[in-house]
């Protein structure tokens, strides 16, 4: 039976069959006969999540511009469909041509969050591809990975054949070019891996030996051969304005997480929050021009028909010409009822003015992310928001008719005390007071306080820091709950601490964790980022069986001299800069925005004129 026939039989039996059928508007069909390189772009989560991810969309359309390359999509099947697939012997297949994944030349996974790692293993297993890189041979596809989590590739070193570090638009084409000549010459898998390792930004873990100290820390990650690079520098697109950007986005049938057109306005961030990995690894800031964005936006709307376009970046308010951009776009789209949405917008007078015109913000309520409850702690993490800023924006918003506010905080930040937790509660109560001052009552007001637990991340000033223990997470959440429950306008929710703990283990983990992942998978762990599926006991027994202590990774404060697993990667940020930032954090000293002063983070090393920020001094 062909996959299509099997699928027709199974689709009526699953929830949301559209997840597996492909055929969406703008999805790309090609004749397989003319294809030299067939690549499956895999996202290790369910369709609705994977389809919302911008990076994979860019690569999909970019690669399909080339007539002899065919890029197709594949997502993690939901539990119900996986069960049927296994029962029916249906292998994992691509959405477009329904080709078994094992028949592709390459399978490229996007690593967006650590908790998707077991899904990668599961998808390989469902494809019939050996889970370990060392067990694959000439008949198997190359298994590649990229994305933010690839900045510490080591936990997946046994599983992934090679990683692409940094922005992949150019690197992937280099890899494919090499692959074509490799195929023509009929070279061995090993030969290809040794060659691909020489492309800038490519890391082939099996070509490196890792040695350890007696205490379990790393003493070195060294290439096995002379011509293999000893450190892999991330790839960066120099000119973001002219780099390829798709306009014929696939339009899904079912509601996905971000069901709208996405316009990337810039990459990078100048604010330098010390806990934020994205703010460090995506440096430097590079913008697209208003003219280019306007043209892209029009093309995207006319080729997708979306009723909403979202401006995407790490911090939308920082786009240098936001006022003109939003004016131009609202003007262009007034007639055809296309709304504009601006996530990650800092709330200030300008954005409120804007929000009056933009319905999306009004619907969803206002979101503020002070991250910490006291000014002292906000200085430690370099989050440049003051209580006065927040309260005066809230006051303006209430005066304009808003009555729903979301406040995001982190608990367990370095140096946090119960005083800081009290600060979170005080801030929430202050918001309620402001509403009362404005409206004379608190009817209809909703203040949603949400906390997540701080996870120390590689390539941030806090990469040396420890995470608070699971017991402490629980205590602090309970404490906040007590502080916040006295007011019925305040709603408190928190992220699962166990997920944060596992994130902390894998984000700064090393190769030894590969075994844990494999055992966890065998025990049935999958969709671990989904609260309802996380089976923490299974994870703990997986650590035990693998003889790996998770607390070594999550709770241990690292000395400045320690060699980290991710130091095989050069993210462009100097260790010296990160250490300096850590010291300043401990003293409660802030570092101003890059636009005020350059702090010499190191990124300029990667290219002359790469950092286009014009400093005021």
């Amino acid at each position: 039976m062909t996959i299509e026939k099997q699928l027709e039989k199974l689709l009526p039996l699953v929830s949301k069959p559209a997840r597996y059928m492909g055929n969406e508007y703008n999805s790309i069909n090609k004749d397989l006969n003319g294809i030299k390189v067939h690549i499956a772009l895999a996202f290790p989560d369910v369709y609705e999540v994977g389809m919302s991810h911008l990076g994979i969309k860019i690569l999909y359309h970019l690669l399909n511009e080339y007539p002899d390359i065919y890029a197709e999509r594949v997502y993690a099947p939901w539990i119900d469909f996986e069960e049927l697939m296994r029962k029916d012997g249906l292998p994992l297949f691509s959405l477009e041509s329904k080709t078994p994944i094992s028949k592709f030349d390459m399978v490229g996974f996007t690593l967006q969050y650590e908790m998707s790692y077991t899904n990668i293993i599961n998808m390989l297993e469902l494809s019939g591809i050996p889970i370990l890189s060392s067990e694959r041979n000439e008949s198997h596809p190359f298994v590649i990975a990229g994305g933010p989590c690839a900045y510490n590739p080591e936990p997946l070193a046994d599983i992934i054949d090679f990683f692409i570090i940094g922005e992949a638009e150019e690197a992937i084409l280099d890899v494919i070019d090499l692959y074509k000549s490799f195929k023509e010459r009929g070279e061995s898998r090993q030969e290809f891996l040794e060659n691909v390792a020489q492309i800038p930004g490519v890391y082939v873990p099996m070509l490196y030996n890792v040695s350890y100290n007696n205490d379990g820390t790393i003493s070195g990650i060294l290439p096995k051969k002379d011509h293999i690079p000893s450190v892999i520098q991330k790839r960066v697109i120099e000119d973001l304005d002219s780099v390829y950007y798709p306009t014929k986005f696939i339009v899904p049938y079912i509601d996905i997480v971000h069901d709208r057109a996405v316009l990337e306005i810039f990459r990078g961030c100048t604010r330098g929050c010390r806990f934020c990995q994205a703010g460090m690894i995506y440096r430097p800031v590079r913008e697209k021009t208003v003219d280019r964005l306007e043209k892209l936006a029009k093309d995207i709307i006319s080729s997708t028909g979306y009723g909403e376009i979202s401006l995407s970046s790490l911090s939308t308010s920082d786009y240098s010409d936001l006022k003109r951009l939003t004016q131009v776009l609202t003007e262009d789209f007034r007639q055809c009822q296309v709304g504009l949405s601006l996530p990650s917008l800092r709330i200030d007078a300008f954005s409120l003015e804007l929000a009056k015109k933009i319905q999306e913000i009004k619907k969803s309520g206002l979101t503020f992310a002070p991250e910490a409850g006291t000014q002292r702690l906000r200085d430690v993490i370099n989050k440049g928001v003051t209580e006065e800023d927040l309260l005066s924006s809230v006051r303006d918003a209430f005066a304009l008719g808003w009555n729903r506010v979301k406040l995001y905080f982190m608990i367990g930040l370095p140096t946090e005390t119960y005083e800081d937790l009290k600060g979170i509660a005080d801030l929430a109560y202050a918001v309620v007071d402001v509403y009362r001052q404005v409206n004379g009552h608190t009817k209809g007001l909703q203040v949603h306080v949400s906390t997540s637990t701080f996870v120390p991340k590689p390539f941030t000033p806090f990469q040396w820091e420890s995470q608070i223990t699971l017991a402490e997470i629980d205590e602090r959440q309970q404490h906040l709950k007590k502080l916040l429950k006295k007011n019925k306008n305040i709603y408190y929710s928190w992220h699962n601490g166990k997920i944060s703990f596992l994130e902390a283990v894998f984000s700064r983990g090393d190769r030894k964790l590969g075994r844990v992942l494999k055992i966890a998978h065998e025990k049935g762990c999958k969709f671990d980022g989904w609260d309802e599926f996380l089976d923490f006991d299974k994870w703990m027994s997986a650590f035990k069986e693998a003889k790996v202590d998770p607390e070594f990774y999550a709770y241990r404060k690292r000395p400045e001299t320690e060699k980290f697993p991710w130091e095989i990667i050069d993210a462009g940020i100097d260790k010296r800069f990160l250490l300096l930032e850590l010291e300043k954090a401990k003293k409660g000293q802030t570092t101003p925005d890059c636009r005020i002063r350059c702090h010499g983070c190191g990124i300029r090393r990667l290219g002359d004129g790469l950092c286009e920020i014009k400093n005021e001094v």
Binding site: L11, Y253, I301, G305, Y306
Partner: protein, 236 residues
């Protein structure tokens, strides 16, 4: 200006839910750059109404929608442009002005073709079971509703069932059954009842909605206001 369009939903698009179809059309209209009217207010929606929902997995050559435009446009233009912007499998086949036609909400009957595999059951057996089913005064089935399971009598909801044609492998069962607000029954429910009589499983390989209309007395009226007298067999 309001237009009534007839469209078909075939192939894989049969797995797209009713709700998702609305979104699909809204986007197709925007891609086609057609001047559809939107509701006023905070959350503007396009002014489109559809025929009663088709179950997931059912194909159709007889879906209708009424669409309002804020300026007059030619019917041919609409079909051409819209079809160029629709996903493969969904296609507009006919269009007329909607004014003075019966409201889509009045449609109360649909004709389905259900294709089953003839392996365990022969055509004669099938015909017999249909006859038995139609002779029953009451056909009580369990129905899942929002407030739990409920027993309903589907006998008054069945207008006709026939074995239309068959070959050595498959048979086409044609049934006219009630849809819409007055009460509705799914074709698969009728098949399950036939199985109960046959004491055998019927493997269904396709369900297709072929026609949809309004039945009153001995008249049936199509959404394009074509009137027909119906055969006594079909009348209730």
């Amino acid at each position: 200006m309001k237009l009534r369009m007839k469209f078909k939903k075939e192939g894989l698009t049969r797995f797209i839910s009713h709700l998702d179809m609305m979104r699909t059309f809204e986007r197709a209209f925007r891609r086609a750059n057609l001047p559809i009217a939107f509701t006023q207010g905070f959350n503007p929606r396009p002014k489109i109404t559809f025929t009663p929902a088709l179950s997931l997995g059912v194909t159709s050559s007889s879906e209708y929608m009424d669409v309002e435009f804020y300026e007059d446009i030619s019917k041919q233009d609409v079909v051409l442009k819209l079809n160029g912007a629709l996903p493969e499998g969904i296609q507009v086949t006919d269009v007329e002005e909607a004014d003075e036609k019966l409201p889509l909400s009045m449609l109360n009957c649909a004709k389905y073709v259900v294709t089953v595999i003839l392996s365990e059951v022969g055509p004669e057996e099938l015909i017999k079971s249909i006859k038995i089913l139609l002779q029953q005064k009451e056909i009580i089935v369990e129905k899942n509703t929002k407030s739990g399971k409920k027993l309903v009598d589907i006998a008054p909801l069945i207008y006709s069932i026939d074995l239309a044609d068959h070959n050595s492998d498959t048979a086409n069962i044609v049934m006219s059954i009630s849809i819409g607000q007055q009460g509705s029954v799914a074709p698969i429910t009728v098949i399950r009842e036939l199985e109960r009589i046959l004491l055998k499983k019927l493997e269904v390989v396709g369900i297709h909605r072929e026609e949809i209309f309004y039945i009153s007395g001995d008249k049936k009226i199509s959404p394009f206001n074509v009137e027909e007298n119906i055969s006594p067999k079909e009348s209730k």
